[in-house]
């Protein structure tokens, strides 16, 4: 059903292109987009762009996971932190992370660090907020029981609080990932220096509509793979294990 729908869409698109309803520099045909993708992978220019973008994403996102989870744990466990820092976190979360770019360029200079910072800011706070929510929703009996079983200090955090809030942390990571991915694309388009966003801008500069479409296809593909395959599977596994999965029919 799904597959048939996409075949139909591409078919109609091809037909429109074939009859020259719009010129190719407005609407490239799917065949030319496919050709661009093919040559792009063959001469590795697209692969290079993907690699550069993913590198920035993974660095920024990883730092965001580590610091976000730590901040979330602190916010969830320490009341006076929650009352002071917590409100600031909620406030800053409303700031689209791309607005950090001008500041980041002045702080870090025109280099990789600036864009990694923007990616980091995109996901850091949402991961922290979800972690905090997860920590706060741990049944009090879990903590009580951990105390009775002599689980204290670091063991309490590592063996009880962290796993107990893992479902929320994963929700936050998923949300953080999509923020990070969007920030990265925006950042690369504004602050032109390699990467997929840069290839999009290049397509515009060269008036190469099929390149623009090809890069967009790649962006959608990566987004879907990570969202559905990686997060989908992890989320399902964790929720199943935690007994949170409601039977769906």
């Amino acid at each position: 059903m799904k597959f048939g729908f996409y075949v139909g869409v591409v078919g109609i698109w091809e037909l429109i292109a074939l009859f020259h309803v719009w010129p190719p520099y407005i609407l490239p045909s799917p065949v030319s987009v496919a050709q661009t993708l093919y040559y792009g992978f063959e001469d590795k220019s697209l692969l290079f762009g993907i690699g550069i973008s993913m590198e920035r994403l993974i660095i920024g996102y990883s730092i965001a996971i580590v610091l976000g989870v730590l901040l979330g744990l602190a916010l969830g466990r320490v009341r006076y932190l929650e009352q002071s820092v917590g409100s600031a976190v909620l406030g800053l979360q409303t700031l689209p992370s791309i607005t950090w770019l001008p500041a980041a360029i002045l702080w870090f200079g025109l280099n990789q660090a600036a864009i990694i910072f923007v990616v980091f800011m995109g996901s850091f706070l949402s991961i922290a907020i979800s972690t905090e929510a997860g920590v706060k929703h741990i049944p009090p009996l879990f903590i009580k029981n951990a105390g009775i079983l002599g689980i204290k200090g670091w063991r309490l955090y590592w063996e009880v609080i962290l796993p107990a809030s893992l479902p929320s942390i994963i929700t936050g990571m998923k949300l953080g990932w999509s923020f990070a991915w969007r920030s990265l694309m925006a950042g690369e388009m504004l602050f032109v220096n390699l990467g997929l966003g840069y290839l999009l801008q290049l397509g515009r500069d060269l008036n190469d509509m099929s390149l623009i479409f090809a890069v967009m296809v790649i962006i959608v593909a990566i987004g879907m793979i990570v969202d559905h395959l990686i997060f989908g599977l992890v989320e399902k596994a964790v929720k199943g294990r935690w007994g949170l999965l409601v039977e769906e029919h």
């Binding site: 879990f142 009775i148 079983l149 002599g150 689980i151 063991r155 063996e159 893992l166 294990r241 935690w242």
Partner: protein
Amino acid sequence: MINKGVIAELRDGVKKAVKGDRPAKPPKLHLRGISKAFRSVNGDTTLALQDINVKIREGEFVCIVGPSGCGKTTLLNIVAGLDRSGCGEVLCNGKRVKGPGMDRIVMFQESVLFPWLNVRNNIEIGLKSRGLSKGARRQKALDFLKLVHLSKFANAHPHELSGGMKQRVALARSLAMEPEVLLMDEPFTALDAQTRWILHYELQSIWEKTGKTILFVTHNLREAVCLADRVIVLSSRPGRIKQEYHIDLPRPRDDSSVEVAALATEIMGILRGEIEKVMKEELDEGSCKECDVKCVGAATDGRKLPAPVSPHGK
């Protein structure tokens, strides 16, 4: 039968020792003058427990029963170290209880198993605190799973188990910690009658096998009579010891047997007056808000408050 003789001797021994200067061996668990007051939102002080004195011998199975709100769970929490008493103290093996400790493991109405761990690891996580090696932990977990007849489910996750099975795992986890005293807070209340019946049997046989000292809180009188050596009846708020029963019925007992039912009915006779008191208080307080202050005032009037009332009450 030899066992009984020994227990009787022990009991006499304790009695004699108490009469003498110092007890030869301190009781496993000693609750000395426990009182507890709560401060409600409008500033009234409600006395929950008043001057509770209980001595529990090693290997004894004691049930505490009482009408709802009499403070049985509060009492258990104080023994567990999860709650502080206003005055009085709890001695476990002669040592004063200052907080939760692995010598007093609590089993709750819910099993409180960690859903991310399988059954075996749920038991092992506690054993880790005991500093056991990995192999020893594993072996011990399996041994205790065998004791509760759940060997087949060692690798299952809690969400795959029924309520009764979860409570058995919780029991295995508690016993594996090898506590001095096992504290049980209505552990079978949430289970269906059949499962409860089976677990009553199992708990009795496990208790006989392990010789654990058990303090068990319940509102179910048949359960209390079925399980305990001694049933302590608490009065309605403030909880005081109203009566004590020594249950000498042969084991294993069945909670639906005539003897158990007869004793439960006898205790019910004592408790009925207390339950009626609770109901009346609840109804009176609930019927009109204007007389609220008066009712509470009348109830607290003339009640001896233990001194000093704890300043650290929340």
